[in-house]
């Protein structure tokens, strides 16, 4: 019986895979851009609500670092960040929605892993947020590093990789620990809030978001260590390299703009700059837009409407937002972080 079920599942999976792969052929190089231009707006798949990444404000407008990436792509193609529509997708349906053409790109806090990149018929085009598992503790404990957590009890979610990552980390560093696991994130947070355990562990961006639900958020700190790699980035369909380039360079343009000190505030003044790097970035020299099939002032419009990477980070998740996330590993490579964009040259 079990064999029979397995066989059926395999058959269905096969049919499914064939469908998906035939569909992939229908999106040949250059086609996505043509479809998008014809339609007049970019269709962007986002989360069903994740603070700082894609979440609604009081009037239902989308905000967030992922949302800003979608707006940047729209600005690159159309010169206006208004030409974008957001489709909230559950974690389960996100790749199918991309493959079936329901969205043109996914900016949905999706971890770049080898399996997803190679087996699902999709391509990751970069990393717009380096996430990873971290720890949150009471500030008054005076702990400054995760290496001081020897003997601690950890609140976490049951049966996730979070639990395994913590086990590996503590064993590697020769520390003892005790796991207090819960079915749901909300239960784990309440348990931590009630003092059931010394530390709460999950992905860092989520730690900052969950901290807001604690009785006294300011009494808790997120430790600097990241013990797992969760690079979150935009995803496009495999096989359309031109569209992939547009999405990839929309992000790179924002990072390069931060590095060169160009922001939405000073971009008009920067137009008179003599710096060849800035002139190329703003589309004053070269035909970089043409090569991708979009206007040459593509990155000028990105920076004018959305801003550089620092602006979108600080506006959505940074120090002055309720989330209060420090740049950390998401700082520029010059400042000791991982955000590094190839030159526009």
């Amino acid at each position: 019986m079990k064999k029979l079920v397995e066989m059926c599942v395999q058959r269905v999976a096969l049919v499914f895979a064939v469908c998906v792969s035939t569909l992939n052929f229908s999106f040949a190089a250059g086609e996505t851009l043509a479809v998008v231009q014809e339609r007049g707006y970019v269709k962007c798949g986002v989360s069903q609500g994740l603070p700082g990444f894609s979440n609604p404000d009081d009037r239902g407008n989308w905000n967030g670092i992922d949302v800003d990436l979608c707006r940047a792509v729209a600005a690159a193609v159309f010169g206006s960040d208004e030409n974008v529509k957001f489709t909230p997708l559950s974690a389960k349906e996100r790749f199918t929605a991309l493959q079936s053409g329901e969205v043109d790109l996914l900016a949905r806090n999706t971890t770049w892993s080898m399996h997803r990149d190679t087996a699902l018929g999709v391509d990751f085009t970069g990393v717009n947020y380096y996430d990873g598992q971290g720890f949150m503790v009471l500030a008054e404990l005076g702990i400054k590093s995760a290496l001081e957590l020897d003997g601690a009890s950890l609140c976490t979610n049951l049966g996730t990789t979070t639990e395994l990552n913590a086990a590996d980390y503590f064993r590697t560093n020769g520390m003892t620990y005790e796991i207090v696991a819960f079915e749901k994130a909300d239960e784990a947070v309440s348990a931590y809030n009630a003092g059931r355990c010394d530390a709460y562990t999950t992905d860092q961006s989520a730690l900052y978001a969950q901290r807001l639900k604690l009785t006294d958020p300011k009494a808790h700190i997120v430790l600097p260590e990241i013990i797992s790699k969760e690079p979150l980035g935009p995803v496009v369909r495999q096989g359309d390299d031109q569209w992939g380039d547009i999405v990839q360079w929309s992000h790179h343009a924002m990072v390069n703009a931060e590095e060169l000190g160009v922001s939405s505030a000073n971009i008009e003044a920067m137009k008179t700059s003599k710096n060849p790097n800035i002139r190329r970035l703003l589309g004053l020299d070269g035909t970089f837009g043409d090569n991708m099939g979009i206007p040459n002032d593509w990155s000028y419009h990105i920076i004018r409407t959305v801003g550089n990477y620092a602006e979108t980070f600080e506006r959505n998740v940074g120090k002055d937002t309720p989330l209060g996330i420090a740049r950390g590993v998401n700082a520029l490579w010059k400042d000791g972080g991982l955000q590094y964009a190839p030159p526009i040259r």
Partner: protein, 371 residues
């Protein structure tokens, strides 16, 4: 002839003091026996604890005004009502453009205007009323809500949300499932083998899978099998899925009613010379449907609450949009999600309770049994 003296009884004595008035009522209803007394005391203690907590949370410790999360961060914090206040427009209309919301209001108002006289048995013009509600209103609602005609701004269904989506899904499901369910139930009892097996197959397939599966298939799998460029509206796919699913359940409820009608009724209808459809319409169905009103309303209420499952395919119904707004960091507090859930639960309860009361009213009115 002797003049009969009338026997006049003495006026009755008043009932004993301890059985009348408030004291008497309390005595007979709450403290009649030692076990009654014990139960009353326990119930009162439980009530006191619950109500006390609720009043503290919802009123005494609650925050009623504020512009963002800072208002809801007191040391002893109850409900964070300004969250609901700030998001109310979102909860009702979703991301329906603010300038176009009057269209939703108008559709809602014209629906209520059609529905209320229909629900009151004494109101006249029932036939015209039904034609208005089932013929004119759906077309009017469709044109008003989707727009794109008569100079109305088109509004895509992806922008719909909140109570609007809940009501659209629930009402479409309810309106479509009753006639479909009746036809399926009749088909299942039919003598014709093909019709019967088709109906049985349909009912058993749709009853045999969870609603989530139906919605998921409709939303995720269907587009993969459709040719390029053919793209059904997502909400439309869900509506069809919900309507088919609930009609399978309705069919079984109606079949229960059909089976309860004695064979004599069928034979009597046949003896009057009525054909199949006439005997069903005039004799069998009126009795059968009356019998299963509780079951029908039960299915309606279940369907109304099941609408929350459309969240799985990325549509935001009332509960979905409330949860969605929990992710707004400018409102994230320890109490935000409790407040939001309480609000959603209250709205759902109001609708379901209203349906339930109306069904009791109809049962009593249609009851032909003498008390």
């Amino acid at each position: 002839m002797s003049s009969a003296t009338h026997w006049t009884p003495k006026p009755p004595r008043p009932a004993p003091v301890h059985t009348v008035g408030v004291r008497g009522w309390i005595r007979t209803n709450l403290f009649a026996t030692p076990s009654d007394t014990l139960l009353t005391l326990v119930a009162m203690a439980v009530l006191y604890l619950t109500i006390d907590t609720l009043v503290h949370w919802a009123y005494i410790d609650a925050t009623f005004s504020g512009a963002n999360r800072d208002a809801c961060l007191k040391a002893v914090q109850g409900a964070c009502w300004p969250f609901v206040d700030a998001k109310l427009g979102q909860f009702i209309y979703g991301r329906y453009p603010e300038l176009e919301r009057w269209r939703v209001d108008l559709v809602f108002a014209s629906g209520v205007i059609g529905l209320i006289p229909l629900l009151i048995p004494a109101a006249p013009f029932k036939r015209a009323n039904v034609i208005y509600l089932l013929g004119f209103f759906p077309v009017f609602a469709f044109i008003m809500l989707t727009g794109g005609r008569f100079g109305l701004e088109p509004v895509e269904t992806t922008d719909w949300g909140g109570l609007l989506v809940t009501l659209v899904v629930a009402i479409t499901g309810i309106v479509a499932s009753l006639p479909l369910g009746i036809l399926l139930a009749l088909g299942r009892r039919s003598q014709m083998p093909i019709v019967r097996s088709l109906c049985i197959g349909f009912i058993e397939i749709f009853r045999g899978v969870p609603l989530i599966t139906v919605l998921f298939m409709a939303s995720v799998m269907l587009p993969l099998f459709l040719p390029d460029g053919v793209n059904f509206d997502k909400l439309m796919r869900c509506l069809i899925g919900v309507a088919l699913f609930s009609s399978a359940y309705m069919a079984e409820v109606v079949r229960g009613g059909l089976q309860a009608i004695p064979k004599g009724q069928y034979e009597a209808a046949a003896a009057l010379g009525l054909g199949y459809w006439k005997s069903m319409r005039l004799i069998i169905l009126p009795q059968a449907l009356k019998l299963v009103i509780p079951g029908i309303v039960n299915t309606f209420i279940g369907l109304f609450k099941d609408t929350t499952l459309v969240l799985i395919v990325g549509l935001f119904d009332l509960l979905g949009i409330v949860q969605f707004h929990f992710t707004d960091a400018s409102w994230a507090t320890p109490e935000t999600h409790i407040t939001g859930y309480a609000f959603a639960a209250f709205v759902f309860w109001v609708f379901c309770f209203a349906m339930s009361r109306y069904s009791i009213f109809m049962e009593n009115r249609l009851s032909t049994e003498r008390d």
